[in-house]
Chain length 123, copies 4
């Protein structure tokens, strides 16, 4: 069974057994996902790249990050299910689109270019 499909199936059973489905509106699940993303970056906020590398090698940081990453995925799977979105299809469609938006011959190169290409909208 596909990994995402298997997680979806376990999560559906988990919520049903606890009667938690009624809390799982798209809006609430998006909030939960965002909260977990916040916990993920909170783990890294004071560390420079070298300290992150050290922490990952020693294992304790890796375990905490794995835990937070898992939380993000679990809420993402539940969010997309609640919204009737096929997560894996959407992800492939997005990579397809990015391949058109950032052609290799233009995107290859400098941080400036990368930044420019990825620059979020104003306002």
């Amino acid at each position: 069974m596909d990994s995402i499909a298997e997680l979806r199936s376990r999560l559906r059973a988990f919520a049903q057994e606890r009667d938690w489905g009624r809390f799982h509106s798209p809006k609430n699940l998006a909030m939960a996902l965002s909260g977990e993303a916040g916990e993920l970056i909170a783990e890294l906020q004071w560390l420079d790249d070298a300290s992150v590398a050290d922490g990952l090698e020693q294992g304790a940081l890796k375990e905490r990050l794995a835990d937070e990453a898992a939380d993000v995925l679990l809420y993402l799977v539940q969010f997309t299910e609640a919204a009737g979105i096929d997560l894996v299809d959407a992800a492939h469609a997005k990579i397809d689109r990015n391949e058109s938006r950032y052609p290799v011959h233009l995107a290859h190169g400098t941080a400036t270019k990368q930044t420019e290409l990825h620059r979020p909208h104003q306002d």
Copy 2:
């Protein structure tokens, strides 16, 4: 091929072709993930549950949410790869842990209970 493994493989090629790997530290990717989670909730912030349901039926909202959910997954896959974390293993480990933490006979029930169980730490 498993869905997560396939996305990982496409994303790896995408970043390599553009020489973007050097921007993809765990810290930067966690920030990108968190930024995308922010865009996801921004889509829902002024809508009540009924408006979300309407919007999902009409399709335009669904497309925007699918796009943002895809972005979250793409950065999550890249983040966990950069950190040497097996995302699917971590997700199953987390569900296992949640099954112990929230036993069905205790967790079944009220919003209060759910809130209490899920209540984030103080400070």
Copy 3:
């Protein structure tokens, strides 16, 4: 003394006494701010509006939200100081701009309009 100026002054002393200034790059402080915003929404993710109102009246929720809101402000003040931004000026400039962008005669009205006006960019 103005409230923001006073907080800035206390926070500067706090960080100096602990030699924490070197962790306080704009990037790190932005991450910290975002992490705290995540904790704030985590407090509300499973509650409907009526439960939020109840929780605020009983006081315990209010205290937790006050605590998280304070954290957001403290990091925001430190972030803008590290980036050389005048936070209060920026806030007034933004309200000025919003007054032009959302003229009263157009913005008054329906959720749809509000949503449309506030709709985040695509991608």
Copy 4:
């Protein structure tokens, strides 16, 4: 007039004139705040500290960051007002608490210590 009080007063008038008060539940405003925090970190996600410093000097990055920081403050002020929280009091109370939690003689020093002290909770 105090800076926060003045912003609160302008924002109250702004929302009233547009009849937007009914969208401004604590939950919705917390989501909006979190979305803006996401936009803030999105501006910084691919930049190292030197590039941030360069960008701030050239002005364009500074303007974008000022804009996003302003958005965070505007929603924070509105959120705390909707929740009946005194934002400035809460901020001072939090600094007081942090002064007890991180005594100068213990907190002074290494990144490890800082990380340990600031380490977010597990789960």
